[in-house]
Amino acid sequence: MKLIAVIFFFAVHMSWSQFDRVNSFSNNKWAGGQQLEKPQFFILPWQPGTQLVEKETNLSIKVDSLGLKPVKALQDSSGTIIIYVSDISTPVCADGDCRLMDIRFYWTLLGGYAGFDSYQQSPLTKHDHDEFVYADYLKLHQLLLDDNSILKRRKVDELVKKPQVSENENVDAVAGATIKEVKESVVSGALYSCYTAWHIVHGVVKNQIRELTVKGLSEDQLVSMLSVDNPDYQIFVLKRFSKAQYEKNYKQIAAIFKDGIPLVRSYIVKNVPSSFWENETLQTPFWNCFSDLDINSRSLLLEKIAMAPLTIIYELSKNLGVMTKNQLKQYLNHLSNTKGIDKVLIESLKSFADDPNETYNYLVDNFLEDYVE
């Protein structure tokens, strides 16, 4: 039965390929080798009026039974590559029932998933042939954003039946949890489409694009990548910055520290050159956003407290309430080693210690008891 269905699929496909399918691929967002509008689902910034032009690359994606699909670069008017794109048409088969999935994927300069467009004339469909609705497309987008999806480690067959328990079970998870995770992450009724899409987006092309970018990387491009609000770009650039580049771009780096994700913040505070912590001007912007930071970044910043000027120490005393227990201990420990603490700061500590609404007032009370009184 399955064999018949597959034969039927290829027969249909052969007949399709007799015709020019350009029409079903056309979309007013992109025409004549130009990208004129922001893709439907997209994670990078897109300025209004942006027009990107396709450029051939030597990359392609091998699609089951349909050969190679070219991966193209999309570059701006100055010739700078902004993203990569590929128009994919791939068979998706489930229980012998095969359909074509048409979709246009976008990748970042580092090969990360950037977004997708569906085709107006060829929407994605589920196993029961119902067309995707907006929520389904959004869920697919969320799935593709997860580069560590459970789909990565499992064969598709394992995802549709209860996984077998074996002594060699290789994951720190269980059947129930796995099934739940799959259910939560894929579009209901479209497991095979989701699986196929995920493995195309996160397949070998990912590294190939990254290598292409690294190969042609210029200093200007490095700096311009830093201004893109994308954690992969930020860490990629910071890993390659020299001490001089760190210092030259310190305002931009401080801005990323303030607004970036915790992982990027942690990288910054751990890896900025030591000159930052020896210079009041360079380090002050970091301390200024202390109360807005996530706990992990705040902890890493507090590890630099020994090099902070006294003005920062005093300023931090206004933020005792946002500190965790151990952060407060670290701050107080620093105070106990600091000479010349003035009365204003002591009064500020006393008022914190007396405030019944402050969770860790007792720590300050103990500190005052041990070191001051």
Binding site: V174, I261, Q330, N366
Partner: protein, 606 residues
Amino acid sequence: MNNEFKINNMNMLFRLVLIITSCVQISAAQELLVEAESFDQPGGWVVDPQFVEQMGSPYLMAHGMGEPVANAVTSVEFPKKGEYHVWVRTMNWAPGDWEAPGRFGLTINGHAFENELGKRSGWGWEYVGSINLDTKTAKLELIDFTGFNGRCDAVYFSSKKISPPSSPKNLAEWRAKIAQEPNKPAKSEDYDLVVTGGGIAGCAAAIAAAEQGMKVALIHDRPVLGGNASSEIRVHTLGIYGHFERILKKLDTEHYPNGSADAKIDQKKRDDNVKSYKNIHLYLNWRAYDAVTEEETIKYVDARQTKTGERKRFSAPYFVDSTGDGWIGYWAGAEFSYGRESVDKYGEDWEEWGELWSPEEADNAVMGSSVLWGSKETEQEQQFPEVPWAMTVAKKYQEINGEWQWEFSRNDLNQIDDAEEIRDHMLMAIYGSFANAKKDPKNANRKLEWVSYLVGKRESRRLVGDHIFTFNDAKAGTKFPDAVVEETREVDVHYQTVLENEKNPDFISEALFFKTPKYYIPYRSLYSKNITNLFMAGRNFSTSHVGLGGPRVMRTTGQMGAAVGLAASLCKKYDVNPRDVYVGYLNEYLKLIEDQKYLKIPASKQ
């Protein structure tokens, strides 16, 4: 540095003081200290000894999952009749702008005090009130008001209204002053091998050594064996059996979901099997508190009964640290590591995951601890109270069961020193998420069935051996000449998802899997580099942070235990130290491992 200072302080506190009997008459003054864990009848309160090294003592906790537990009762003998002021040592574990979750009361001879207890931030003394006692014997009762983890460490009576100190520094001095306890435990016992920590690794070590005829002490601070695999924590065992299938099948679990009540079945199997060895002397509910070393050789381990406070000294020529946290090694002065090495230290890079896998700069981040839990459908509607104190952690997250992803670590929290805060954070996550789920009508009949109160740790101290096992050993599948443990499980390292998005709950983790060939752990990773007679088995073996990612699961750690148990028997046979087995008796050791796979047929049946 700060943490080490704290631990040293607490260790000193143990050596110098600690109240060991249920009632200690402190001085000629009318004072009395009653340790809560020594109450005659704990009722529904549980003894929690997990954080002794940090807050000073086991304590009683009302772990009722939202339903007040039965009273804890004891009777005490006072030095004199008369008026006493009363304090309890307690802590509000979720302080904030709401009613404390763990409120409780105290009655003395039926007299209830007005003050609700369990309301102060941080461990310390809360004043209960005063009472005039016209008899020297009194009945104390702890009354739980909430079912949400109220805790009581001790009750203190004094004819003077002077509160004992609360700051750790001053409390240590106060306790040192009042303790009447000599440094050395009154009782000593001699063994061939002392194994501390009755998780899967410790049990396997004890069995393997006992089968070779050694007289073994197995010290474990819980009433049941298995550690993370026990029915108290309920993580299923993963990994392969390696050379030790026969032994490990006595100890491991089925592959049920983490948190499953099926853990109770395997619990019975495990306890029965270990108890069947006549030469394993099992010390359940005993917690080690010191390892005394001379010339880099451990002479004895001191331990204390978690309820009665009785102490014992365990002497042996060889010791196994299977505490998970590396306590024996730590007390003995063994080299250890904690946190993530820099990527360059051992070259453990995985470019795809970069900083999440191995950071450019070393840091204190480690894989987190889990607290497992579950709920069940019932026939009737079930109420669950509002838990405002949990919402700063749970936020809007809804869930009805917890799995391995329920995991918490943060770089300002040490998995050992801050384990109580980590556990409490998870309790807030659990109660809050369940309360959120209960607002959904489909969960109207759902009832919280089980919440562990024990921290299921993945990573803490790692004692340093002659070889430090790394990710590269796993990737290369290096076949060491002294390979005694083997594994096929992927190396998986966890991180908190909040690192990628601040909107994610901070108590949910993600795993990164690296597929490796079959890999091997050398015997040299299973004994201390600088403490001459110390073996280690379990997550505290000699490994890097990433290296731990694969073999941290319990069949693998069980292999480690069995391997060191056998090595210990050779140490005894030739009167040599663990390193000498590698240097001089490796072939015999490997043959012993091979030979133990199948029990010999008794001569009578041949």
